[in-house]
Amino acid sequence: MALKKQSKAISSKELEKVLTGISGLDEITLGGLPKGRPSLICGEAGAGKTLFSIEFIVKGALLYNEPGVFMAFEEKADELKVNVASLGFDLDSLEREKKVKIDYVHIDRTEIEETGEYDLEGLFIRLGYAIDSIGAKRVVLDTIENLFSGLTNEAVLRSEIRRLFQFLKSKGVTAIITGEKGEKTLTRQGLEEYVSDCVILLDHRIINQISTRRLRIIKYRGSVHGTNEYPFLIDDDGISVLPVTSLRLNKEVSTAVVSSGIEALDKSLGCNGFFKGSSILVSGTAGTGKTSVAASFVHAACKNKSKCLFFAFEESPQQIIRNMRSIGIDLNDHLDKGYLEFFASRPTLFGLEMHLVAIHKAIKKFKPAVVVLDPITNLETIGSISEVKAMLIRLIDYLQEEQITVMFTALSINNAINEQTDEVVSSLVDAWIRIRDIEDNGERNRGLYIMKSRGMKHSNQIREFVITDEGLNLIDVYLSDDGVLTGSAREARMLIEKTGKVIQEQALSRKDREIIRKKRVLEAKIEGLRTEFESIEEELNKVYVEEELKKQIMGSALEQMTELRKGSSAIQPKKSKLHKKKGK
């Protein structure tokens, strides 16, 4: 029998589905509820069955143009309308537009006497009439089990309920039947016997005084579906279910870079910032400035006109804005311009899963490029470390898919348990920045280092992290004989070195001057020698010229004397004498 049914489902290739319009549920069921068939929603009192089903009807009417009939066995139509008005559903106007019909079936045992045989044809007629009057495609019966409290003939009821489901199928409506959870069965009256296509269980659990709503698809014949327990949230917008983990690990990656807001940190990261869509963990002990790092990250992103969402689990937005103003970061401005939004909630407000759902919702609504969670360690007050990790995995998963850069801050206390937390979370993140206290020399300073940064050539240096009126900064590593110096020790050392430098400079310039002076003296000496040399040279020249002159004068005098002695022949001896001189 079961085999036959299965093969039938396969042969019809694919089950037609109807989108519920409940955010998240359609993802888990891969398309919604089975079309034209009844589905069972069961759960304890207060699990959200009625709300779930009414949302199915309202969303159908509003989003998919599928009118719906809501047959209420528990609440009166007026009560129901008031109850769902808080979710922004205006059933009255929908009813006027003939998109929704609410039929309250009142069953009061005190008014009813049973005698003899009967059937529930009246209910069928009512339902049929309601469906036909608005052309309904969706039907909710909430909760049909009330019939059992009103009527005693169980045999009749059971056969009639079986007939009712046949009737619904024949009408071709997609139906939700709700049922209260029984002690050992899914529903008190074993409705799951009759509805075999799709069964969804809603659960409301309280762990450590914090309640979490969960949803699980118990069965969905002829369809693949998520089998996990999915947390869901009921708030102003109705129900949102969270499909927790994506099954694949093939997200798109980006090489675009987002600045950390601290110039020096960007530089030490080696890539001028963090990769877009990556996750960053900033951990440190109390008072090391984790929130300041986060704020400056947000500040930088907002200045680049990216939208940022700041989840504060510790401080109120006003508190953060005030505190950040003291370090020269004006977040209020970004808030006014709409680039920044705060989402503050106490961790203990609701369970971890709910936080996750709330975070998802806020992100979906605001569509930020940068998300900050400050601090994640506060979430440990409501869940164990492994639960927090599981939650963060899902969150990082989702953010990566959306290419949203996320920065977590985490408080670490120097004891074994909390160091562990760091490690647990750190394996998930892409970049991990640690801020450490450096206690030395009677003061406390902050040291910042990059523990890891996937895919970046990051610096391995511990750098001093300073918080000033103008923002955050990293100061270059100051190495001395005593190791890395920070704070006033660094300042002192810098001062010493500075004075040393001045003295050295002065010494240098004194030497320079002396050289110049010496040079001048030497130059003067050289000048003196040169003039001396010139005068000697002139003297020598003078002697030489005189000699020459003497020779000339003596020569001509000799000629004149020979001429006088030999008359006209006196020219020849003169010539021969000149020749003789040359030959010498």
Partner: protein, 96 residues
């Protein structure tokens, strides 16, 4: 015994149960309420819109509108005792 009884019997077509119910009803009324009652038979197959007003879900249903309080008796009315108790007709009081 001055009260006047306004009775409505909701049926869905001429089913065996409906026919038996109507026969039974007529019989009891003639016996106990002669001349002080009206029976209106409403066929929901013809007038389905009336089902909601009287909160009908089972067929057949007998509704006693007047005198107050409103009572409903569902089934083919085969148990005379129960019908008479349901309709607040004397015999029960007499038996007491």
């Amino acid at each position: 015994m001055d009260k006047f009884y306004e009775l409505r019997l909701y049926v869905a077509g001429k089913t065996t149960k409906s026919v038996i119910a109507l026969q039974n009803l007529k019989k009891y009324c003639e016996e106990h309420l002669q001349g002080k009652y009206t029976i209106e038979v409403i066929d929901l197959l013809v007038q389905p819109q009336l089902a909601e007003g009287d909160q009908i879900f089972a067929i057949p249903t007998l509704v006693k509108k007047v005198p107050e309080p409103v009572r409903k008796i569902i089934g083919d009315l085969s148990n005379e005792e129960k019908v008479l108790v349901g309709l607040d007709i004397r015999p029960l009081a007499a038996n007491r």
